[in-house]
């Protein structure tokens, strides 16, 4: 799927969820065996038009996520290209063992899309937020975990997942409208991080909604005289070891930023690579500090967790002043 100024503009207006539905609609025709399963979430996934136009490619399974993943695997075992989608907590934790056994252990390939991951639904409370999904999905063998940085990357990830050789969890974050990282086409390869900015002192490594925050933080750090690289790590598993090794060789500090618990997600995946290296630089972890905070407005919840560009650049600056 090629990115243009026009489609990225339109997608960033509608946000990641509606982008997913729109993209699936646009590729449905060319994929004869594609089938989309939803547990009463077609509207939430931006799939109303898809459902109307392609009833033979749509399957409603009701609010039963364990059943969803079993049916998905059964269809995949017969050669269908299966997508499933619901809100992230229900798409991952609610049916975790079905994912393990059917997709991980048996390797039936399903692309499963977690809507509104992170804390964008903060006002609905933590039942509907998802700060554990990357950690848990990452621990299941034969599952790829992708966390797109913007809506254009959602489109790229959906196409790539369809062609990928194993199950892919696509984690959608951010609201609508949502910031645009990419305005024109670029090379998206599952497992390959993308360098968005080059700098000498620090590498900010971010995923999903936090990539824009990392870019903003890098700008503000450069005003403090700190030169930052920014890496979009859109694939949490398999993690891009080479990119992390390169960054470690060229930076004095690594900063990981994720809209996820600091346990088990991007920061952990980076640290797992880093810990194998001699003389690797230290790492600051930005994310949720293993708590279920009071819920609330998206921006407010991020702020309380210290996940704004301003807060991050302040903390990084003060670390730099005292430690570097």
């Amino acid at each position: 799927m090629e990115l243009t100024k026009k489609n990225t503009n339109s997608w960033s207006r509608i946000g990641s969820r509606a982008t997913f539905g729109t993209v699936l609609y646009s590729i449905a025709e060319e994929h004869e065996d594609l089938i989309m399963l939803c547990p009463d979430t077609s509207t939430s996934a931006g799939l109303d038009r898809f459902r109307k136009k392609y009833p033979e490619k749509y399957l409603e399974v009701g609010i039963a996520e364990q059943n969803l993943m079993g049916i998905a695997a059964g269809l995949a075992s017969e050669g269908f290209d299966v997508f499933t989608s619901t809100f992230s907590p229900f798409q991952t934790l609610r049916c975790c063992e079905q994912i393990k056994v059917n997709l991980g252990y048996m390797k039936h390939k399903v692309c499963f899309v977690g809507l509104a991951s992170g804390v964008v639904l903060g006002k609905l409370g933590y039942t509907h937020c998802s700060i554990e999904d990357m950690a848990i999905m990452r621990a299941i063998p034969n599952i790829t975990v992708v966390s797109p940085a913007d809506c254009g990357e959602v489109a790229k990830a959906v196409s790539a997942a369809l062609e990928h050789n194993e199950s892919v969890y696509i984690r959608l974050t951010g609201g609508a409208p949502s910031p645009k990282i990419y305005e024109e086409d670029y090379d998206f390869t599952i497992g390959k991080a993308v360098t968005l900015k080059e700098g000498d002192d620090i590498t900010l490594m971010a995923t999903g909604s936090m990539v824009q925050v990392a870019l903003d933080a890098a700008n503000s750090l450069s005003e403090q005289g700190l030169s930052c690289s920014v890496l979009n790590i859109h694939t949490i598993k398999p993690i891009d070891k080479e990119a992390i090794e390169r960054s470690c060789a060229n930076s004095k500090l690594i900063v990981s930023i994720e809209e996820h618990n600091v346990i088990g997600g991007l920061g952990s995946a980076i640290a797992e690579v880093k810990s194998t290296l001699r003389n690797a630089p230290p790492q600051l972890f930005f994310g949720f500090q293993d708590t279920y905070d009071n819920s609330g407005d998206y921006g407010e919840v991020l702020k309380r967790a210290g996940l704004t560009a301003e807060q991050i650049s302040e903390k990084v600056t003060s670390w730099w002043q005292s430690e570097a």
Binding site: I35, Q66, A72
Partner: protein
């Protein structure tokens, strides 16, 4: 249905029990799920020995009927049936639960050997069966899907998610057989979680329900080959005896997972011999 066919299914089941005795002995101190494997032998014999379509040359023939052992611990009844139709050799059976064997204590997918899915985590097979049944419908293929569940397994909530969905999806190519042996790991269903009238439960979910003696292969055959009710999946509640076939294991839940000693193996052989004589004289 000829008497000969019934006789052949019974012979099929007898040979399964003979192999099961061997496998259980081979498993040695690792022990095996003896009781729940034996309770569905007559169901497996009716399916594999008569009802199901399969290609003896090609276990992956796209037109084959699909069998899913949702109660994955029932492997003894499954592997012995696959051996009987020529998908597994006796040599392979002798590796059961041995280091490096593909025949583990719960089935691990190996389609070229006829093992359709990996199961063992209870409550997952019916959803898989639904997916496969939908695939058949959408591709306009005639094959049928058979799922065998345990009654203890019906404690799992996911069973009922699937039980609700299948009639909604009008999957009349799907059959779910509940091996109603009335025991689960640590006690009777009543002691652990009573299932009560499971037939009524499926009926109220709008399944086409048949309730029968799960060791009566003629009744099984008739239910399994009866005309399907359009738009309805079929549930067969098969009342069985856990450990069926051997006096020492029948209805004794200690045999859920237990070591078969040499002494009991010899006794089992003798009992099988008696059963064979009775079976043959019933035919002659």
């Amino acid at each position: 249905m000829s008497d000969k066919n019934i006789y052949e299914i019974k012979q099929f089941a007898w040979r399964q029990r003979r192999r099961i005795l061997e496998m259980a002995l081979n498993a040695g101190a690792d022990s095996s799920h003896f009781g729940g494997g034996l309770s569905f032998v007559d169901i497996a014999a009716t399916l594999f020995g008569s009802v199901m379509n399969y290609n003896s040359e090609d276990p992956q023939d796209p037109s084959r009927d699909r069998f899913i052992l949702s109660k994955g611990h029932g492997v003894l009844g499954y592997y012995s049936a696959l051996a009987e139709i020529g998908y597994l050799t006796d040599e392979e059976l002798s590796t059961f639960e041995k280091d490096g064997s593909f025949l583990l204590g719960h089935p691990v997918i190996k389609r070229e050997k006829g093992i359709e899915f990996s199961t063992g985590s209870l409550g997952m097979g019916l959803a898989l069966g639904i997916g496969v049944s939908i695939a058949a419908k959408r591709r306009q293929r005639d094959f049928k899907v058979y799922v065998v569940m345990g009654d203890g397994e019906c404690n799992e909530g996911s069973v009922w998610e699937a039980a609700l969905a299948a009639p909604n999806m009008e999957l009349d190519n799907l059959t779910c057989i509940v091996d109603r042996n009335k025991f689960q790991q640590t006690g009777s269903n009543e002691e652990i979680m009573a299932l009560n009238d499971v037939a009524s439960k499926f009926k109220s979910f709008d399944w086409d329900v048949h309730e029968l003696d799960g060791h009566d292969v003629e009744a099984l055959y008739q239910a399994l080959s009866s005309k399907r009710e359009a738009g309805k999946p079929r549930a067969i509640i098969a009342h069985t005896i856990k450990g069926k076939g051997f006096s020492f294991s029948e209805n004794d839940n200690a045999w859920h997972h237990k070591i078969l000693t040499n002494k009991l193996y010899d006794q089992g052989l003798q009992e099988l011999e008696t059963q064979r004589t009775e079976l043959e004289s019933s035919w002659n």
